[in-house]
């Protein structure tokens, strides 16, 4: 029961956060002197009726604080308006968000599957040649700019022809069978995922190593060793569980970093994700789309942190008992 209460409390806490975020983003975007409907007005395929509906929805003829409330009201209702090309924003988002989520989740899974074991290994083999090599590799991984690495990968793909370049699916995607479709997506996902993986792996591995070293130095591990337990048991049964806990908090941050890093990577690989969407929207000053994708990005980030918190509750009994 304590557990459910905690989760409920955490969810409630995100509401003021979302309100502040929406206020900040709304006023930042309105700072620009751009008419939010300028593009829409210029588009001949948009009827006057749609235009009037938009003006009414956003209350553009009223003072700015009323505009904010009407925007917020329609956002909560799920009415996000139209893009400058005349498509529904919600449709566009529905198309792009799963792609970004897919990319991010694949990358998180890969980094954890590789980064955690590597972190443990380099902590156990501290100050050996292996550890030093990993340290150097990690420094390199952290320093390489994502878009530069993406360009290098693109170069690799174009030169070898092993990987398709751009998009998420091939042009003949709809004619493929189910299995072939999955393989096609996986092929397209390979390079963007590899770029983000390399960049986030280093941080994760360093963090895991630091946690593990700290835990291995603690009294209960010394006690476990003194008891005569095998090193294997000490590491995997006693130390690991405590070293992983702080990593779960990191999961939320990692998600945030990936969302940002993904924008550039998506741009270089022409990957149809949220990051590229917001970028295109910004370039075209498509206000509806910018606002909506900014909010969606924020919601995804907050949700990511929420999930990390809940996971932490599950893995760390101390938090469950204390309730705080």
């Amino acid at each position: 029961m304590e557990f459910a209460k905690y989760i409920f409390k955490r969810i409630l806490q995100t509401i003021p956060l979302l309100i502040i975020v929406s206020l900040i983003s709304f006023f930042i975007i309105r700072l620009s002197p751009v008419d939010p409907l300028a593009e829409l007005r210029l588009n001949p395929s948009i009827s006057q009726e749609t235009l009037n509906k938009e003006i009414k929805r956003l209350n553009l003829d009223k003072p700015i604080y009323i505009q904010y409330f009407s925007w917020a009201k329609s956002f909560v209702k799920g009415d996000l308006g139209y893009t400058s090309a005349g498509e529904k924003v919600s449709v566009k988002l529905k198309e792009r968000i799963p792609n970004t989520l897919l990319l991010t989740l694949v990358v998180i899974f890969m980094t954890w599957a590789v980064g955690v074991p590597l972190g443990i290994l380099s902590a156990i083999k501290k100050e050996t040649a292996f550890d030093r090599m990993l340290t150097i590799l990690a420094s390199i991984g952290m320093a390489i700019p994502s878009f530069f690495f993406a360009i290098l990968m693109l170069m690799f793909a174009v030169k070898t022809g092993w990987f398709p370049v751009g998009g998420l699916t091939s042009y003949d995607f709809n004619d493929l069978g189910f299995g072939a479709k999955i393989i096609d997506i996986a092929k397209h996902l390979c390079l963007p995922a590899l770029v983000l993986f390399t960049i986030s792996l280093s941080g994760l591995q360093r963090q895991m190593r630091a946690n593990m070293l700290e835990v291995l130095d603690s009294d209960y591990v010394k006690f476990a060793r003194a008891k005569g337990l095998s090193e294997w048991k000490v590491v995997f049964k006693h130390a690991l569980r405590n070293a992983v806990n702080p990593m779960i908090t990191l999961l939320g941050f990692e998600f945030a970093g990936l969302l940002s890093g993904a924008a550039l990577t998506e741009y270089v690989f022409q990957y149809p994700g949220l990051g590229r969407l917001i970028l295109e929207a910004v370039m075209k000053s498509d206000i509806n789309l910018v606002m909506a994708s900014l909010m969606m990005g924020t919601i995804m980030l907050i949700l990511g942190n929420l999930i990390a918190d809940i996971l932490l509750m599950i893995t760390d009994p101390r938090l469950r008992r204390g309730g705080e």
Partner: protein, 354 residues
């Protein structure tokens, strides 16, 4: 300078330190070292490959270093423009050659450059870009922007972050809650999304100096919250110490206590945070310029120079356009290595980590 001596003893920190010193020296003297100015363009020579420098002449004898000009030709069979060396005329590379006029260090007018070739000759150590501008020279001028943007942003981030975190932590209670909620909200927006939106609402038609300053402000707007939060955490624990109580009983004002007694305690964290956060500003600026939202043409920055490199034909045939990326990588790597070292030195117990 105990720290400097320690740095010189560590293999990695030493190389990082030397690389950074070298980079900053080079960009300081960019006008002098670069054979061309930032805006020099020879449209006839778009995408010329790097000039080859010869030290052995056609007879097999050693010679002063010289280079040939390129002639642009269209190869109908390949449907491509190719560059061939014009072997008829040698251009010797002269030290302290005369070139375009500039002001040395912004003060002394001169036209001497570190090296150059005689009139009519061209030397492009790293080739040219789409407008026939010398990539090597632009790398140096671009470095001026890319390597300073981080420090300048930090000059804004630190006062704001220190004061904000200091006030929030010192007063506590409802003030703290409200201030921290606001900081958390700015952190909850994916930073890169916020960055591109802020950059996009900058009005067009600004001078390059205005744009550069506003980019610095924008980068600072992204970075202050995280810093303020850590400062607040430190202030929370410092304010419980006895010397703060002593100041209070002596009747010092709150602001005085925060500014003169509490914040100075965070100095080592500030230094650590500074070296560790410079790379993220360098990366953010270059990312922004890469997208075309940061520093605008014709000004150079490492990010906007890389923008060209992402086109397929350039990736395949003009690898010299990738050099800015290598420099970003080197700079960031060096800052990271140095930052890690300084952290280990100033804070061996790892209090400021995480």
């Amino acid at each position: 300078m105990e720290l400097l001596r320690k740095i010189m003893k560590d293999k990695f920190a030493k190389s990082a330190f030397i690389v950074l010193c070298f980079l900053y020296l080079v960009i300081l003297f960019a006008d002098f070292i670069a054979p061309y100015s930032n805006y020099y363009a020879n449209r006839e020579m778009a995408y010329a490959p790097p000039s080859r420098v010869y030290t052995i002449d056609e007879n097999g004898h050693f010679s002063r270093p010289y280079t040939y000009n390129y002639i642009r030709k269209f190869e109908p069979a390949l449907m491509q423009t190719v560059f061939e060396e014009d072997r008829s005329q040698k251009y010797y590379i002269k030290p302290f050659a005369r070139g375009e006029k500039y002001k040395f260090l912004g003060l002394i007018p001169t036209s001497r450059h570190l090296f150059g070739v005689n009139n009519g000759g061209e030397i492009h150590l790293l080739g040219t870009d789409i407008n026939g501008r010398d990539v090597f020279s632009r790398l140096l001028f671009g470095g001026r922007i890319s390597m300073t943007v981080g420090f300048l942003s930090l000059l804004i981030v630190f006062p704001i972050g220190l004061l904000y975190g200091g006030l929030s932590g010192y007063f506590g209670g409802i003030v703290d809650t409200l201030m921290m909620r606001f900081a958390e909200a700015t952190m909850a927006i994916p930073s890169f999304y916020l960055l591109i939106i802020l950059a996009a609402i900058l009005p067009s038609g600004m001078t390059s100096v205005q744009r550069f300053s506003l980019i610095i402000v924008i980068l600072a707007l992204i970075g202050w919250a995280g810093f303020a939060r850590v400062v607040r955490g430190m202030v929370l624990s410092i304010k419980k110490e006895e010397f703060v109580l002593a100041e209070k009983t002596l009747g010092a004002s709150n602001l005085r206590i925060i500014l003169k007694h509490i914040l100075p305690q965070t100095t080592s964290y500030v230094i650590i945070a500074m070296t560790l956060s410079v790379p993220s500003y360098i990366l953010a600026e270059s990312g922004l310029s890469f997208l075309g939202l940061g520093i605008q043409q014709p000004d150079a920055s490492w990010g906007n120079m890389l923008k060209e490199a992402q086109e397929f034909t350039n990736i395949l045939y003009r690898p010299w356009l990738l050099t800015p990326g290598v420099l970003i990588f080197l700079a960031v790597l060096s800052f990271n290595l140095l930052g890690d070292f300084i952290r280990d030195y100033l804070d061996p117990k790892g209090r400021t980590r995480g």
